[in-house]
Amino acid sequence: MSLSSALNIAQSSIRNTARQTSIVSRNVLEANNPDYNRRAAVTTTSPGARAVEIQRAANEQLFRQNLQAVSAYNGQGALSSGMERLNLSINGVDNATSPATALGRLQEALQLYSTSPSNRNLAENTLDAARQVVRTLNDGTSALQSFRTVADQEIAIATGELNRLLADLEAANNAVVSGTRSGRDISDALDQRDATLKKIAEYVPISTYTRGDNDMVVSTRDGSMLFETVPRSVSFTPNGAYAPGTTGNQVYIDGVPVSLGTGGNTDASGRIAGMIQLRDGVTVTMQAQFDEIARGLISAFAETSPGGVLPDAPGLFTWLGAPAMPATGTLVTGLAGQIRLNPAIDSAQGGNPELLRDGGANGAGYVHNAGGNASYSALLLSYGDRIAAPMTFDPAAGIDNSSSLADYSTASIGWFDALRKDAADGANAKEALAVRTAEALSNETGVNIDMEMSLLLDLEHSYEASSRLIRAVDEMLAALLNAVR
């Protein structure tokens, strides 16, 4: 060993310390970046004490767990927030605009009218309540369908975003692979790839597999390939507009359709599956229930002919298929959008409201109060009875199939709120899990500024020692040079 090599080693120590300090300062800089994994500059003994190998803190297990939690939360969150929006736009605050509430009002108005059937004001009042029922059903239908249209557009945006993220992933993955092959520091590329994966996990649940050279293969949890060397295409064609009965287009990932989730605490994972569940599951069932309520209304208020001579015909509430009645116990898709007040009865359309009391909206053959007696209440009372009498509903609409119209309409709210509660509870739980796993991951891989600061103290010491060494060697050489005269 010689003074020169002592100088050399001290120099390389200073260089290492500088490099380590730059890592520390980078760690501190990125302390609040959730996608940043802490780097450690580890000195390795190679000839001449080369420095510094950069190691990146990582925890594959926690990362995967976090990805899974993120997917589950995003699927659940999309469902839950969608159901909140649906609740407000369709049922309103405290169910104020729900068909059940409107139906209750109609029942009350009908009751009052039946007590004083001669009172034309009460007839108008009843008609008004009926108009309200029609409006909730019509508005509900258009709100449901526009909700589906919006969900469809959101799916289109999400698939576009997913394709973009997959392209990002390709760039990040290429950087990782080439960096690994050439032995460069790939920490930044890994950070970027992990961050992209987290974002992808928001849209679809993913599982990853790392092959040689850190090359990553990403597939969805059910096995559709998302990324292998190159991104696979995620294709989706949005529908321009939705009407009841319109079937939404599938989202294809590498040619395999994404399946929709089921249940309030949904098994849908990732935002896309959650939105498909809203578009093709929740809203479709809700529309079916609205259609069944509309069908129940038409049949409860159907006009009969005295003695059963003529077939029943739509009375206060009518539809496009009038004068036929919708088939018993069978769902008519889109009926809630078609239901109207009978123009023969609706005073706003030039009809006679007292036909409700007397019968005969469909012609003389249906008149019950032949004498035109002003206080004839039998028909009105029978309408009231029929609202409360059990009838058969199509099980396709997802509710117990034999109950009264009044109960069915509240059961619809019950069905929806049960789903909404499950969705909200699930979202809470899954959010907590996502937050918790992110926290655990951050604890495992993130930066603690205090620790970096104490490391910095070490580095300062080492730097000071090295520079002291250099000064000593310098003094020794100076002494030698003084000796040369």
């Binding site: 597939s219 292998e228 599938q250 590498d254 030698l480």
Partner: protein, 419 residues
């Protein structure tokens, strides 16, 4: 004995110290030269035969030694083409007229033609991978060529082999024969579908759609399609001719391991070679579809992005798509007695009669050192040592001049005897 003899002895001593000071001057001047090896002087006495009672002073002869085998410290740099040898051995370089030399000065940079040239203007030599992995010629410079990174711009490698390992769910529904993927009907369904990128002869990407469909309790069908023929959205039906290969997988009902075909599935890649997909590790167990291994070789054409040199002297070209290819292998040369090599300007050495025969080998093998990329070898001069040598020389020179002066004084006295 003679006064003249004594004076000449003093002069020879002064000459010897002058030589020594010259080496010190050289050493100090080159203390920062990469790959420089310090020179030193060794003295030996020259004795003239003398009789009893009569001493005839002789002289001192100087031999110059160069400490070639003493390694200098490694200094790390940020250039990947800077090379250092950690251990024994020399780079083989040649000058512009084609004469080969040995050197430890590895500060190579590409010149205008892509050849790696060091500060003294010598070109690095290596064995090319053009005709397969090279082997070193044992004792000569045969087969060596100048290392150049300008060539081999675009390279494509067609895929020939791949591995696909996954678990197929045992509980999956059986697909009726008419709907099997191989039937390619519009109603065809597969139990699982995945895809894999392979490369044809020209290096174009070909996406293979791989469908698995359960046909019976322990049998599955694998059908491989060219994804270019897929219907938009749902893959089925593919355009005619898109079915590349189909095979029946049979699993052991007890262990769930694949029993046939263990040789893999041969897939004729469109415009490419036969791609053998190894599926021998596939299983059929009672869990979900899980992909465990998806690999295929081959790469698309792309230009060289950078050059990497491994510790075994292999020089890789790294292409823009991230793939690697060996271009050259850089050998190290050594001789029996490196210190006896003849030093020439530019820190190069050439074998001399005393140094022994030239031996070629690859870094890290046969007693040769390893190659360190991104580092340079400092000169092995220690300033302190040189300075002390200088002081010592100076004193020694003064002493010798005193001897000469004494001789001259005595001569004066002698001459003055005759008046």
């Amino acid at each position: 004995m003679s006064l003249y003899g004594m004076m000449r002895t003093g002069v020879s001593g002064m000459n010897a110290q002058a030589n020594r000071l010259s080496t010190v001057a050289d050493n100090i001047a080159n203390s920062g030269t990469t790959g420089y090896k310090r020179s030193s002087t060794e003295f030996s006495s020259l004795i003239i035969p003398s009789t009893t009672g009569n001493y005839t002073s002789g002289g001192v002869t100087t031999t110059i030694r160069t400490s070639i085998s003493q390694q200098g410290d490694l200094k790390y740099t940020s250039s990947g083409s800077d090379l250092a040898i950690n251990g024994d051995g020399f780079f083989v370089v040649q000058n512009s007229s084609g004469t080969p030399y040995l050197t430890r000065a590895g500060s190579f940079v590409p010149d205008g033609e892509g050849r790696l040239v060091n500060a003294a203007g010598f070109y690095l030599m290596g064995y090319s991978f053009a005709a397969g992995p090279p082997s070193a010629t044992a004792n000569g410079f045969g087969g060596l060529e100048m290392v150049s990174i300008a060539q081999e711009e675009l390279i494509a490698v067609p895929s020939t082999q791949g591995v696909f390992t996954a678990n197929l769910p045992v509980g999956a529904d059986v697909v009726v024969p008419g709907n099997l993927p191989s039937a390619n009907a519009a109603t065809a369904t597969s139990t699982q579908k995945t895809s894999l990128v392979v490369y044809d002869n020209l290096g174009s990407e070909v996406m293979l759609d791989i469908h698995y469909a359960k046909t019976g309790p322990n049998t599955w069908e694998i059908a491989v399609f060219d994804q270019a023929g897929a219907a938009p959205g749902a893959p089925f039906p593919y355009a005619p001719g898109s079915l590349l290969a189909t095979s029946t997988l049979t699993f052991d009902g007890t262990t769930g391991a694949l029993t046939a075909p263990l040789a893999g599935v041969d897939i004729p890649v469109p415009n490419g070679g036969t791609f053998n997909l190894d599926i021998s590790k596939m299983t059929q167990l009672g869990t979900d579809y899980t992909q465990l291994k998806v690999e295929a070789n081959g790469n698309a054409p792309s230009g060289i992005e950078s050059i990497e040199i491994g510790s075994d002297g292999t020089m890789y070209a790294q292409y823009k798509n991230g793939s690697f290819r060996e271009l050259y292998r850089i050998p190290l040369a050594n001789v029996q007695s490196p210190d006896m090599l003849r030093a020439l300007p530019g820190n190069v050495y050439t074998p001399s009669a005393d140094s022994g025969d030239l031996q070629m080998g690859f870094p890290g093998s046969g007693g040769l050192g390893s190659m360190v990329s991104g580092a340079l070898e400092n000169s092995n001069v220690d300033i302190a040592e040189e300075l002390t040598a200088m002081i010592e020389s100076q004193r020694s020179y003064t002493a010798k001049s005193k001897v000469f002066q004494t001789g001259a004084d005595l001569m004066d006295i002698l001459v003055n005897l005759k008046r």
